[in-house]
Amino acid sequence: MISKIAWKNTWFKPLNTFLSIVLLTASVSIISILILLQKQFEEKFSSSMDNIDLVLGAKGSPLQLILSSVYQIDAPPGNISYTEAEAWMNKPMVESAVPLAYGDNYLGYKIVGTTENYTKHFGLNIQQGTLFAKDFEVIVGSNIAANIGLKIGDTFFGTHGDVEEGEVHDHHAYKVVGILEPSGKVADQLILSNISSVWHMHDHEHEDHTEEAHVHAEGEIHHPHEGKEITAVLLKLRNNMAKMTWPRIIPQNTEMQAASPALEVNRLFALFGVGISALTYLAYGIMFISGISIFVALYNMLKERRYEFALLRITGATKFQLLWLVLLESIFLCTIGFILGIVFGRIGLYFLSVSSQEEFKMAFDPFEFLWKEEEMLFLATLSVGILAAIIPAIKAYSLNISKTLANA
């Protein structure tokens, strides 16, 4: 019955409660978005990093190399010679090596030339069809298949570069031969072909060259890839020593660099961390303000409701029941604010996910629940409510009924 009064009171003067609830909702939704974003971001980054000890690529920013090769976010720093890279790929310390050659995109989705090793390395399974066997055969990631409706047997022309509006390569069409199972990794957003597809697509422009050049290429049987370029190589090493030394040795001896994803991603998280904690402090600040707003609302209400409290007391309510009534109203407010905040946070993350998927090909799951973190958030919200209500509640508890009634 006390809770019924508290509940009815919450809605009896909706304007009083509106501000408190809006502020609470805002802070809870911001915090819950941040919690989810950070967790899912780190998860996405870490899961793609699985099994990659070093990335071989052109000299330049190591972070850029990692972002472009492992996460397919940034443009690559440049190309490297396949022959030069092969020398390192074939070293005995290398457990597996995945070469990557970027060239084209289709409707903004990158077409990556690679080998079978890519699917093995990331544990990708083919849902339908087969792996690419010949030039210009591709397998597509599950998101692409779902988003643009590519099916096995479909053909399409790639666009040069990594932007949708580039020059169309209409000499060779790519043909879809397989579709990958959803993996939650970047492969969901990729189109994979063999490396020579990428080379041939771009060689085509030089096909009118003299017979001489052609002969020259045929003569190089032992080095069929000589002069060809790739973008990067993902390496898994057997030897911890190599993990430590290669990043130093390689740039000294070659035109390449070797970057460690773990190191670079940690650097990136550290950068993000600052922004995320700033936003989190802001959100807790808003929560603090909503606490003040609840306090003011309850405190003002005490004045007009002291007769209600006196009435409850003369019908036999104990002091403690009045204390509980005031606390309960605040707890209700906070619970409503928390639930709305979680809901709005989810909606916000959904829209964020839609736009980040368009821009970065990175999707977030708004329906994931992080029970532990969100439970903590609920407890924090509740404590704000209880702290805000404690003074008004004590005032209600120690109300002098006789005086209140005599002055009515």
Partner: protein
């Protein structure tokens, strides 16, 4: 049944009240009159256990209420004393019916909904039970107060100026209603008032000075 002996009370060293003894058996009505400042409301609050006297005894149903600790007094008040106040106070967010039922829940932990409906019906409020108190006229509100005071079959009904905000006709109706209900429920009814209109209605009167 309510009895007092030698009750004294003071708000400060200079202002001291010595109240006449009261003895009001079940079913009877006692009118306490007096000018402002003579301690009418103070006496009523003492009888209701809202104030503690400096000395004396207050016995309700053979229970000396001054012997009860705070929690027991709250419970006793809820079960044995029905108070009707000068102004009508309600839990504004609850309906008329819920306001009356609330009193039974607080005192006895049971929701006497049927009983509340029958009392409200008795008082001519049948059509208003699901309204909010603020939607009722002052006379109707006062009757809801009466219903709330009666819901727990109290031994004593304490009424503080129950008629002062009502017009002549309604004042007489409410006063008669109260004394009739006190007889019906076998409660002692004590009315403190400065309302001259009530003096001719009741035989038992005490005047404070």
């Amino acid at each position: 049944m309510i009895k007092t002996q030698n009750v004294t009370f003071s708000y400060s060293a200079t202002q001291k009240f010595h109240f006449p003894d009261i003895d009001c058996p079940n079913g009877q009505t006692l009118l306490i009159t007096g000018n402002s400042g003579t301690g009418k409301t103070t006496l009523l609050h003492l009888l209701g256990g809202l104030l503690q006297p400096n000395a004396g005894n207050i016995t309700i149903n053979n229970q000396d209420i001054l012997q009860l600790n705070a929690a027991k007094l709250d419970a006793f008040r809820g079960q044995s004393i029905g108070m009707i106040l000068q102004k009508s106070f309600f839990i504004e967010a609850l309906t008329v019916l819920d306001n009356v039922v609330l009193a039974s829940w607080i005192a006895k932990k049971t929701k006497a909904k049927e009983k509340a409906l029958s009392i409200l019906d008795n008082l001519g409020l049948k059509d208003h039970v699901h309204k909010l108190p603020s939607q009722l006229s002052i006379g109707q509100q006062q009757r809801v107060n009466i219903a709330r005071a009666l819901i727990n079959n109290p031994s004593v009904i304490l009424a503080d100026e129950p008629t002062s905000s009502l017009d002549d006709e309604n004042a007489l109706i409410v006063a008669r209603l109260l004394s009739d209900l006190a007889k019906e429920y076998q409660s002692s009814l004590i009315i403190v008032t400065h309302d001259q209109r009530l003096k001719s209605l009741f035989n038992h009167q005490i005047t404070l000075s």
